[in-house]
Structure formats: structure tokens, C-alpha cells
């Protein structure tokens, strides 16, 4: 059993290993650091956004071992050993080599005008990939419901669903 007790309040760091967008990182992390803050503040991966910081907007959505979660509610130390994919790593996920390449979902978002200000977009993209990994949503209604954890104040929702539908059907056609 791992026991890291100094007195609560001491400058305690826990050693963890995370594979982030394919790159293995060994990190010393305070237990109260969220995965979101680790990614943005420490690792400069500012693609993932802090919208509400309370699990209510989905802007912080990332993939942990292929599963979408709200990184604002995840303590980084609890993800020791996991593979994390952020928006910066989506092209790599689709085996697109080289700079400035895009995952099919990113191409579809551009094609379908599925973003305006772009703030919710990294979360929408990771959430879309997570949705497709889950393999449950098939109809438009199901896609909408399955994306209900990602809010968009610009109202790009219908185009987001269009983009997801297209990539899902591409995937089925392959």
C-alpha cells in the first residue's frame, strides 16, 4: 500500500508516470493537482480548456486510456500509468505524421463549420473521439444525447453532430 503521509500541508509530491500524446513522462505531482491543471500549467498543453472547473461544461474533456473524462475533476496522481490523449495528440492518434496534420474529426469540424470561438472545441473533439470509441451512439438523437456533456455557447451544436455523423459513417464504410 502506497503511503505518502507527511503532515497534510507539507510540500508533498508523488512520483507518477503518464504517457501523454504518445510521450512517456515521469513527473512529481502534488496530490491536489488536477489532471487539467497539470496539462495546462505544468506541461504547457493549453489546448485543453478550463471552462467551469467543476465538471459541468466539458471543455476540459480528454481521453484517458481511450475513455473520455472531465480532467478538471481528476486528480493527476490517480492517473498514474495511464495514457492521456489531449487535442494536441489527436492527429497522432489517427497516425497522421508531420506538423499541422489533422484527425478526421478535426477535418470534419472544419468542413462542417462546427466551431465559432473555438473555446469548447478541444473538449468537443476529444469527446467526439471518446463517443466513437464507446460505440453506443448511432442515430442523431443518440449522438446529441451522448455529447450533452459538452456545452457550446456559440451554438455550433447541429454542425458538431453533422461532423460526428460524417466521421462515424466514414469509419463504417472502411
Amino acid at each position: 500500500m502506497l503511503s505518502e503521509s507527511g503532515s497534510a500541508g507539507a510540500d508533498v509530491k508523488i512520483g507518477i508516470t503518464l504517457t501523454i500524446n504518445g510521450e512517456r513522462r515521469e513527473l512529481q505531482v502534488a496530490p491536489w493537482t488536477t489532471l487539467l491543471d497539470l496539462l495546462r500549467e505544468r506541461l504547457d498543453l493549453t489546448g485543453t480548456k478550463k471552462g467551469c472547473d467543476h465538471g459541468q461544461c466539458g471543455a476540459c474533456t480528454v481521453l484517458v486510456d481511450g475513455t473520455r473524462i472531465n480532467s478538471c475533476l481528476a486528480l493527476a496522481v490517480m492517473k498514474d500509468g495511464a495514457e492521456i490523449t489531449t487535442v494536441e495528440g489527436l492527429a497522432g492518434l489517427a497516425h497522421r505524421q508531420g506538423a499541422n496534420t489533422l484527425h478526421p474529426i478535426q477535418e470534419a469540424f472544419v468542413e462542417h463549420d462546427a466551431f465559432q470561438c473555438g473555446y469548447c472545441t478541444p473538449g468537443q473533439l476529444c469527446s467526439s473521439v471518446g463517443l466513437m470509441n464507446e460505440g453506443h451512439a448511432k442515430t442523431r438523437d443518440e449522438i446529441r444525447e451522448a455529447m450533452s456533456g459538452n456545452l457550446c455557447r456559440c451554438g455550433a451544436y447541429t454542425n458538431i453532430v453533422d461532423a460526428i455523423e460524417e466521421v462515424m459513417h466514414q469509419g463504417a464504410a472502411r
Binding site: 503521509s5 507527511g6 473520455r68 475533476l73 450533452s148 456533456g149
Partner: protein, 337 residues
Amino acid sequence: MNRFDYVRADTVADAIKALGTDPSARFIAGGTNLVDLMKYNVEKPGRLIDITRLPLKNIEEHEGGLRIGALVSNADLAYDASIQSRYPLLASAILAGASAQLRNAASTGGNLNQRTRCYYFYDEGTPCNKREPGSGCPAIGGVNRIHAILGASGACIATNPSDMCVALAALEATVQVSGPEGNRAIAFADYHRLPGDDPAKDNTLKPGEIVVSVDLPATDYGPHHTYLKLRDRLSYAFALVSVAAALELDGQTIKTARLALGGVAHKPWRNQEAEALLQGKPATRESFKAAADLILREAKPQSENGFKIELARRAIVRGLEQAAAGTPQSQSDKRIQ
């Protein structure tokens, strides 16, 4: 968020030992409620015990029913093939709640123990008898649209926000817990408390106890069930009123009825008198209305939530009609048939 010790447990015994006698120690699994509360300084644990490595992640056959490990995620539970075919009411209720991201992270045990979303409970700048016993309940006479119409007290009118628990109440699940004094089984109806004079305690767990599984008994309602959730948005919002209904029918006659309400009380609300009333009756609107009236006879409105009484009355009737027809509410097609 306060500073805290962080430890990991590998066995249930380790986890219980790590809790020790520290009243500010907390187990953490998905963290989707606890971390939220910590960010608001409502929960300030001195120590977090990471229980995500405990061997409580399976769904197994158990005495004709199923035993759900406390660490099974809400998503895994809802999409499990055995749950979908044998307990579709439970799957439906889970999918009505939260978001995919939250369901992926949240655990069965955590969902069971999630705390109220009362605005005053969440605001450390206001009094709250649940958060600080004796400080008062500003929801009474305050902003109480989302609060209880049944089972409340002068000390607390908060509601239990879980959808999963409403289905577990209707399915008469059993909660298995383990603690310093050994293992025990808690009937679901006895797990969550009414607020009474002591709203600080949400449930009947004793100090040092941990939920290890939730057991579902063998049941067969076939398609005669529904989870009907009414809320201000079509998705991603807590229930104003929800109904879990399950019926065993003999032709058009009700053999057994199970009914639980969410969004209306400090615990999922069952009224066994109403269930008994339905037994042997024809599965008609008249029977359902009689049951609804019986359940809501003791309902008490607060200053802003009186609409819930009539809403609940109609939701009970509509839910029972859906169950009787074998057309459970879809959680993705939002039309209420």
C-alpha cells in the same frame, strides 16, 4: 482545495485500516462528486484514500441476480449486457443522469454516496444544517425550487440527486458493506436516511465502513418498466421529479408494482401502501391515479416548489402507463409517449 495526505489501498482491509479513526479521511474513486465538493471547500478531507485498485470491479451472478462491485463505473454498469437484458430499468436510470464523461469516471459506490446539490449546502458562505449542524436551513423560505416535497424536516429540505438510486430502490437492491466490525447487508430502503433532526448524515453507514457491492435480486418485469425523468433541460440536469416504475402483469391485471420517486426527498421515495393498493388492480389510469394520490397525500410544498406535487402526480401516472404498455421512456428520444 485543502492540502491533504494521499494514500492508496490495495485491499478492502487496507482501505478500512487507512480510514482508521480519522473523521476527516475520505475514500476516493471516480472523484466526480468529492473533488467538486473539495473545490468548493464543502468537503475538506485531511486524507484521501485512493480505492481504485480494490478488486471490486466485476458484475457477477449472485443468487439468481447480480452482484455489482462498488468500483464498476456508471458507464460500464449501464452498458453491461446482463444489466441491459435483465435490469433495463437500472441501465435507463443511469443513462438519464450526468454526462458520458461523468458516467465514465463515476463508480457505483460513489453514486450511492453522492451528496445533495442544494445551493446552500454548496455555498460555504451560507448556513446549512447538513454542512454545519445547528447553523440553520436557509433553503426553508429561501430559494427552494429543487427541494423536497416529501419526508423533509424543519432542519433540512434537501433532496437526493441520484438517478441510479431511484432505480435501485424500485429494484429492492441490497448494499453490502465492510467495516471494522465485519460485513453487513443493508436493504436499499434503509441505506439513505430522512433528514430528521440530524441532516448531516445522508446514509446509515457506520464510521469506517466501505461499500463493497450492490446486489440485485432476481426479478423479471420484462418490458414493463420505465425511468421517467422531468427536468428543466432535456439533458444534463438533475431531476425536478423522476419516477422508476416496474410492473409484473397478469394480462391486464397488476400482480406486483414497484415505484420509486426521485427529486422529491432526502432519499429515493417509495410508498409500499401505494404499491399494495395497485396489487390485483387493472393496469388503468384510474388505478394509477389512485396510487399517485395516495403517495402525494402527505406531500408538503415549500415556498417555490409546490408545482412538484402536481408534476409528480402526473409523472407517476404517465410512468405507470409507460410501464404497463411495455414502452419505457427512451433516454435519447426525448419525446414522452
